[in-house]
């Protein structure tokens, strides 16, 4: 397994370089640059050119990329083109918020999706399944940002139970920290739960009609044991893959929720970076996300082996 993990990491290196190279080139193709943002609308062409030179933006693109990679190989992610802050520091400030939100949303979505998926599968064509399907469709149909706004109005403005936005990151004030997480995480989780519960339902349905389940029933095993001990474990294998993909995509894809709830995550940092043409921020953020993606995929593969003993990770 050790060799497997090392091999996977080695395979990730070209992926990292290719993705950063691609984004580097694409973002530089967009008109406008960080110099214009820093200079502001009052700048003269001379001042703009001077800032551009100072930032190194007058160099050929390939040279700029090589400079960035050279620094990277020395363990230096660089500094924000605009604010001058170290990228590592910016990511350190934002990554915990994103990871916290993602983990919370994934956990909530699993807590909701698992029983809903099982109940739907075990009550096929019943009233309960119809009710759950309706809820699922609603959650899938309602856009995240709108659900978020409605949640803020209800729980913050009317009931005043939860804060409408912002993140409280205070170890000495866990109550407020959790409160600040509930609305954004739940809003994000509902959509995930709807998709996930449908996936669980269909997988479970498929497994419930497999021969070994029929055999178990024929042997007189009761329904609960059949579902939870025999069928569910097999039905969850593909779910783990989906969870891994969802988790990875959430790391960079919570921008809308971050915006609605003023959650200071990596997504917002990246969007600001793109908008301000802060190439160093975008590159650094992307690098982090790709690395996390690779680690999560690896974890998914390892989890497979744990859940299903038939799967052996080949060296």
């Amino acid at each position: 397994m050790g060799r497997f993990i090392i091999r996977r990491f080695l395979q990730a290196i070209p992926v990292l370089f290719f993705s950063t190279f691609l984004v580097f080139m694409v973002i530089h193709l967009i008109p406008g640059d960080a110099a214009a943002v820093l200079a502001g609308p009052n700048a003269t062409p001379e001042a703009l050119a001077a800032i551009r030179k100072d930032m190194g933006l007058d160099q050929p693109l390939l040279v700029q990329y090589v400079v960035w990679v050279t620094h990277l190989l020395q363990g230096d992610l660089g500094k924000s083109t605009l604010s001058g802050q170290p990228i590592v520091k910016l990511l350190q400030a934002r990554a915990p918020a994103t990871i916290e939100l993602t983990l919370a949303a994934m956990s909530i979505s699993m807590i909701i999706a698992l029983p809903l998926g099982i109940l739907s599968a075990t009550h096929v064509r019943g009233r309960l399944e119809w009710f759950i399907s309706t809820i699922q469709s609603l959650w899938l149909a309602i856009p995240n940002f709108w659900a978020g706004i409605l949640a803020i109005i209800l729980f913050s403005l009317i009931l005043r139970w939860l804060p409408p936005g912002g993140r409280v990151a205070d170890a000495n004030n866990m109550g407020d920290s959790i409160k600040s997480l509930i609305l954004p995480a739940t809003t994000l989780a509902l959509y995930l739960a709807a998709a996930l519960s449908r996936f669980i339902k269909f997988n479970l349905l498929e497994v419930l009609f497999d021969d070994y389940v029929r055999t178990a029933r024929a042997k007189g095993v009761n329904d609960t044991t059949v579902v939870y001990r025999h069928a569910l474990r097999n039905a969850l294998l593909p779910v783990i893959t989906i969870l891994g993909v969802q988790f990875a995509s959430l790391l960079g894809g919570t921008v809308i929720i971050e915006s609605v709830f003023s959650w200071p995550g990596v997504g917002g940092l990246m969007i600001d970076g793109i908008s301000n043409r802060d190439y160093a921020v975008v590159q650094g953020g992307l690098l982090l996300l790709v690395m996390l993606f690779i680690v999560i995929n690896l974890l998914v593969d390892l989890t497979y082996a744990v859940i299903d003993p038939r799967i052996r990770l080949s060296d």
Partner: protein, 529 residues
């Protein structure tokens, strides 16, 4: 230095250190304290309380906290860490800050500033004249991103330091608007801005000390216990958040914020009559929306076409519907507090499509299809105006295409006059609260060199230069009249309406003061009831 008869000023706030006062003998030394002359947002209550934390939110996300960077936040954040040499009161009269008095030569070419003694940076180092000189020169460095401030700094051809408390600034041309410049110069600490923490920590002499900056989320400052103005500030702490408009408005309503800057128009109007909140519009922010034409290209090289477009602007509809009557239509850049304001001239261009049609016909313009370059992120209201404008122009046979671009593209395209800039541009401007000539000298929409409208005219240059150097109020007034007529006739850059800098505050927030720079407010005298 010639003895100054025209302009000499000195003032003290009560209880400030070094209160050996000289009486003001000139026109610029208005009486009273800053606290009483700067307009407060709300009536002062009986007894200010000390302590407490103020939660402030705005949508603007400063990309830098450098005190000399034009992108470095605003009044309510990084600026509170710094002091300026002087500060205008509500009547545009300079009041002492780090400079406690001044002597100005009658030809307005030499300015002697006497610095307040005993002022310390937050690091504990004493402020000296060296720091002032360092700041003025630093503003010229293009890499600092000081924007219009570099233009001000370049006025000064010599900076002499007779002693550690005196600065003498000299200019080649008369600069009667000297105080416009130093109003915006945050005096920075050389050790800080050249040190390793320059980008993540700021040190000034201001009422609040830097605590933390989490880019894109919040900026925290704490009371400067050694502030030179005794007893100030009242607040222990200010946390300034970056929030989207809707979230910050909701946070205010759910008691998660105390003050929000530029809330949603609908929320502002809705909460205006609610006694739990104070809703105010900055009376002299000097900010306005404007549209310009690429006058270097046909058909906008013909003033009649520009006038026609000016007549086709339905400013009232914009102010009524989009701005919900928080904005006022403008033909000229000036709000009522400006010395160049002229109510009659401000309504020359009323919405008149027949007249617009006739002017286009007279100019032989033919079929026009053009574009308007708008920065929808920086000035979303202008994008909304452009949609109204598009509809109006369609009625006179003109097709207007909206080009909504990001700030980086907008700036680059206009400053470098990129090929795809062929028609109009729309944006906001911000320094009409200062001397009118300052706007014409520095604003990108109006300045003489490389303005966004690519407008050049000998008469314009002569008028602006005359206004810049004229110090006689009567002659100034005459020049402003001529400039106003010229602007209306040439219509190369056209104001649309005031850009109201609105504030929503909870009812217990007291002592918030308007400032004449950047349409902001100051929290130096703010306290929580």
């Amino acid at each position: 230095m010639r003895a100054n008869r025209a302009v000499r000023g000195t003032q003290q706030r009560p209880g400030r250190p070094g209160n050996g006062r000289r009486q003001p003998s000139g026109t610029s030394g208005a009486s009273g304290t800053l606290a009483s002359t700067s307009a407060t947002v709300q009536p002062a209550a009986a007894q200010p309380k000390t302590g407490g934390s103020l939660r402030f939110a705005q949508t603007a996300n400063p990309v830098s906290i450098d005190g000399n960077s034009i992108a470095g936040g605003g009044n309510e954040t990084a600026w509170l860490v710094f002091d300026r040499l002087t500060q205008y009161d509500q009547n545009r009269q300079p009041q002492p800050m780090l400079a406690e008095s001044w002597d100005i030569a009658s030809d307005f070419k030499q300015f002697k500033l006497n610095l307040r003694k005993g002022v310390q940076f937050h690091s504990g180092r004493e402020l000296t004249s060296d720091d002032v000189k360092y700041t003025v020169l630093r503003l010229r460095e293009s890499t600092v991103g000081s924007g219009i401030l570099a233009g001000f700094s370049n006025w000064f051809t010599a900076i002499d330091l007779p002693d550690k408390s005196t600065v003498v600034l000299r200019t080649d041309s008369p600069r009667p608007t000297f105080f416009d410049a130093i109003e915006l110069f945050n005096i920075v600490d050389k050790d800080n801005v050249e040190g390793p923490e320059a980008k993540s920590k700021i040190i000034g002499t201001g009422p609040f000390t830097f605590v933390e900056w989490q880019n894109g989320d919040h900026f925290t400052i704490a009371k400067n216990k050694n502030y030179w103005q005794s007893g100030r500030p009242y607040l222990d702490e200010i946390v300034s958040y970056v929030r989207n408009q809707q979230t910050m408005d909701l946070q205010l309503e759910s008691n998660g914020m105390d003050v929000v800057k530029i809330p949603g128009v609908d929320d502002f109007v809705r909460l205006k009559s609610d006694p739990d909140y104070q809703a105010t519009i900055h009376p002299a922010s000097g900010t306005f929306f404007e549209i310009g034409f690429n006058t270097a290209r046909p058909p906008f090289d013909d003033p009649r076409v520009r006038q026609a477009f000016n007549y086709a602007m339905d400013r009232k509809r914009f102010c009524d519907t989009i701005m919900r009557n928080t904005a006022v239509p403008l033909n000229l850049p000036w709000s009522a507090t400006s010395p160049a304001y002229d109510a009659a001239k401000n309504s020359v261009y009323t919405y008149d499509l027949d007249r617009a049609r006739a002017l286009l016909k007279e100019a032989g313009a033919g079929t026009i299809e053009t574009g308007i370059l708008v920065n929808g992120i920086g000035a979303p209201q202008v994008l909304q105006f452009a949609q109204i404008f598009q509809d109006s122009l369609a009625q006179i046979g003109v097709k207007l295409n909206l080009q909504n671009v990001e700030p980086a593209i907008w700036v680059d395209t206009l400053i470098n006059k990129k090929p795809d800039y062929t028609g109009l541009w729309g944006g906001s401007d911000q320094i009409a609260q200062l001397a009118p000539s300052t706007l014409f000298q520095l604003s990108p929409g109006w300045r003489l060199d490389n303005n966004h409208s690519a407008y050049k005219n000998e008469m314009w240059t002569t008028l602006v230069n005359s206004a810049l150097s004229e110090s006689d109020p009567t002659k100034q007034k005459d020049l402003y009249t001529r400039l106003n007529d010229f602007i209306l006739d040439q219509s190369f850059t056209v104001p649309i309406a005031t850009y109201p800098y609105t504030f929503l505050m909870r009812a217990n927030v007291m002592g918030v003061q308007y400032q004449l720079h950047n349409g902001g407010v100051s929290f130096t005298d703010t306290w929580l009831a």
